[in-house]
Structures are given as C-alpha cells and as structure tokens.
Symmetry: C2
Subunit: 288 residues, 2 copies
C-alpha cells in the first residue's frame, strides 16, 4: 500500500507505527529521521526502520507518506525543513496531541493549509517513551482521530485512514477544535494533575514515608506522571487555551469540594462523589 | 490462633480478612455483624462467615478478637453498642483509613483510650465494595499499618499483628498523626482529585465525546473515582485537617502550573514535570 514511508521522530509512536505496518505487509520500506544518530541506529538494528538520515529534507524526498512523530514543539521547524523537498503526491500527517497549533504551524510555513496534510492523533501510548518501548500491537483496538479541514484533500484523508487501519486502529473523524477541547479534558488536564500531585508530595516534609506507603491506587493514579516531560511541555503550550479552560473549571470544582470538607457539608460531598462514581461506572469501565 | 472472630461490617475488607484467616487456618469460627440481613446471608452462603447477627452487642459477646470494618462514620455508635458486651480479654481493632478520629471516638465512649483497642489500617482494597468483591488474597504482600498509642497493651498489638500476618500482610507500626498526614497525601487527596475530575468533565458541554474518547491513561487515573461514596464521605470528615492541608498545598501548586502555562514559562513547566517523573520513577514504579 505504502511504497516508501518516512517517519520523522522514531520513538514510541513512530516506531510502533512502522512495526505495525510491517506486520500488516502494508509498507515496502521505511526511512527514519531524527536528531539522534544512536537512536536511529538502534531503530534500524531492531528492524523498525530500514534506513535513516538526520536530515528531514533528505528523509522525505521520495516518500509517498510522511508521518511527523516528533514532539509538537518541533512541528514548525520540521515543516520548514521538508518544504520544497516533498514529492508532488506525498501525503503528510502527524501524531500530535493538539491539532489547532500544528495546522497554524503548517499555514505559517506553507502560506496556506496544505491540501495533502492530514492532522492526526492516535489515542494510544504508554508512560514509556523511545523506540526501545515501541511494539507492533500498540494501536490494536485503539482509536486514531483525524481532524481534516475543508482544505484537506479527501484522498489524502482516505490514505491516512487506511494506513492507521492497517496498523490495527479504529479511525474516527472529529472537528479540529472539538478535538483539542476533548483532549484537554480527558488527557492534558489529568496529566497536569498527576504531575502536580507527585511534585507536591515530593516537597512535603514526610515525603519519604509518603512514597513508602503509597498503595496500588496511587500507582495507577500517578502512572501518567512518568510520561516524557518535554513532550508534555510542548502539549501544554500547543493546547494552551483549551487546557487553561479545563484547569480553571477543575480548580473551581476542587474549591467547592474543599469548602464542603471544611464545612462538613455531607450533602455536597456525597453528591459529587456519587455523581462521579455513576459517571465513571457507566462510561469508563472496562480495561481497554 | 483466634478462637472466635467477630467482623463488624462484612464488606470487601472485613470479608477478605475472614477468608484470608480461614485460608491460613488461623481462626476457628467467624461471626459477622452488619445492618443488612441479606448481605450477611450472602456472606454466610459463601462461607465468608459462619454465623451472623445484626446486633453488635450480641456479636461481640464471646469473641476474642473484634474487627470493626464498617465505614468510619459508624465507629462511635459501634463503640457504644459493644461497650459492656465485650469479653474481658477481647481485643478490638479497626480498619479505618483515618486513625485519630477513631481513637477520639473510642475515648469519648469508653472515657479513656482502651488498652485493648489497636487502631489499624490495611493499605489494600479495590474500587469495588461489598462482600461479593471479597477474596482471600486481597492482603497478600500488602501493608497493614498499626498505630498503637502509649495506652495500648503491647500484647493486644502483638495479637493484631499476628492476625494480619496470618492474612498475608506485612505489618508496620506508625505514629497515629503521622499516619493521618501520610494517608491524606497518598490516598485521600488523590481520591478527591479523581472524583472532582470525573464530576467536572461530566458537566462539560462535550461530556459525551469526553467519555467516548477517554483513553487508557484516563481509565487508570479515574479508577479510584469508582470507590464507595459513603466510605469516602466519612474519610473526608474523619481526616479533615490533614486532608484540607494537603488540598491547600496541591491547589497552590496547581495554580503555579496554570500560571506557567498561561505565561508559556517553559522553565517552570519542564522543572515540575521532570521532578515529578524522576520522583515517581524512583519511588513508585513496579506494579504491586
């Protein structure tokens, strides 16, 4: 299906995509691109990629599909580096956790939203990062959201859809800004809470005992605080408005809970806890 | 070892303890006590308990060990109900997630801290509740914290220690108030964050999409929001001071993160995220 796939940023997501497409026989050859030669050599030795270069312009030259899988902060310089080097029919997609900012980056570099650029976001990942954490089944039964715009060529969207389906994922289309709001709520806000919680506890006087007595629930709750700091720094700035909005709503609600505890307001506490339990039990149960 | 064990509150914790002690051959007979006859009948039909009564005074009468495993809010009325009915050598312990309040309840009812009362807290549990969720290996390789006071008889503490060890747990002693502070940080605060988060998202305009696109990280993060609302209401009020203190520190730190996002302050964001990741990787990894 894909003759020459270019993966820029061969980490957990980029590497797993390459492996998944190889597993499906959906790609002839994969060229990897990144800043660290040692990482690219590791990726080649594991047969994640077939060849590599550290030059993005060279990497994309004969590729029919280019997947940008570097942190969001690298999007604009990468667009600049590949502009003028893409094959005429090449399709470009990305895997960023925020989509409006990537589209704005593309617009700034190309002067308009390119018809062959399909913004994408696989809802998959672990708190691990790097190509050593990549595995071919990462996307199996996971969702990939594509947020094509009016300017996007429908055939480009279809190519990217088929690529992700070949990698094992279920593909859904979503409005760009809607995506950013939903992800701010379900992913970006929880990451802020987990990072802040661990940092808060680490600076408490009793931090040694705190981590010694942390139980299973705490481990699950803070797992996402082991995620890559640079990637999450980039996501915060890339999805600033939606994330600040979610943070503000959460902080106001947490103040209500704090006040209820202070005032021993049983009605409010039972109300919030019951509503949350019912919602979670109804919508988020299962272990997928 | 234990001739007649009385479990007041035959739910996940009380039921699992009875099963674990039976597995170890460490108990001759178990009498269960609770308010709901149907639940007690279910517990007996599953051989979790051997007999039952809904009258706490009657339940404790010939027991050598009494375990109070009802929600924290029931501690004072239960102490009143069993006072005067305990055998002279009977040892009483509890499983509450906050310890100062239970000791105060006991002091109020008995006029002084009883020498044979050993405050305890198994650091185990799931988001499930009820005897139908009980299982004999719940405490295997988990910790149980005992917080004996100066007034506590050392032999009583030893009996409760041996009981928990027979149930598969590792027993640790901790200062009472220190326990309440550490648990406020590692357990009570995270539960507040999870409940509040799910409630916040449930009231957002896009709540349908929010729960539809929630990924694995979100499921782990919000698992504890499926915990029993009444139990957590009781814990909030029982450990009010330590929890409010933890909530205040967390809220202040979250405001710092929010400001850093608003001001695109990369240094602060990377600093907080890196510190949190390093702490968690160092202290909370593993899957126990």
């Amino acid at each position: 299906m894909i003759s020459r796939l270019c993966i820029i940023g061969v980490g957990l997501i980029g590497g797993s995509l390459a492996l998944a497409l190889k597993r499906a026989g959906a790609v002839d050859s994969v060229i990897g691109c990144g800043r660290q030669r040692a990482n690219l050599e590791l990726a080649r030795s594991r047969n994640v990629i077939d060849e590599f270069t550290t030059d993005p312009g060279e990497a994309v030259r004969d590729a029919d599909v280019v997947v940008m899988a570097a942190p969001l902060g690298a999007a604009e310089p990468l667009f600049r580096a590949i502009r003028g080097n893409l094959a005429p029919q090449a399709i470009v997609t990305d895997v960023g956790s925020a989509k409006r900012c990537v589209v704005e980056d593309a617009k700034r570099v190309f002067g308009a939203i390119p018809a062959n650029f399909v913004p994408g976001h696989p809802i998959a990942g672990t708190e691990q990062s790097g190509v050593e954490a990549a595995f071919e089944s990462l996307f199996d039964d996971h969702r990939v959201i594509l947020t094509p715009l009016e300017e996007t060529d429908a055939r480009a969207t279809q190519t990217v859809r088929l690529m992700w389906e070949a990698a094992g994922a279920e593909v859904l289309l979503l409005d760009l800004d809607h995506h950013d709001q939903v992800l701010a709520a379900t992913s970006h806000l929880p990451h802020m809470l987990a990072y802040t919680l661990v940092d808060t506890l680490g600076r408490m006087e009793q931090h040694t005992e705190i981590f010694r007595y942390a139980a299973g629930g705490f481990r699950d709750f803070t797992r996402i605080a082991s995620s890559d700091p640079t990637m999450w720094h980039d996501i915060c700035l890339a999805n600033k408005d939606a994330l600040l909005n979610a943070l503000q709503q959460f902080s106001a609600d947490l103040a209500v809970v704090s006040d209820a505890i202070r005032n021993s307001d049983s009605a409010v506490l039972k109300d919030v806890f019951s509503r949350a339990k019912d919602l979670r039990d109804a919508h988020v149960s299962g272990s997928k």
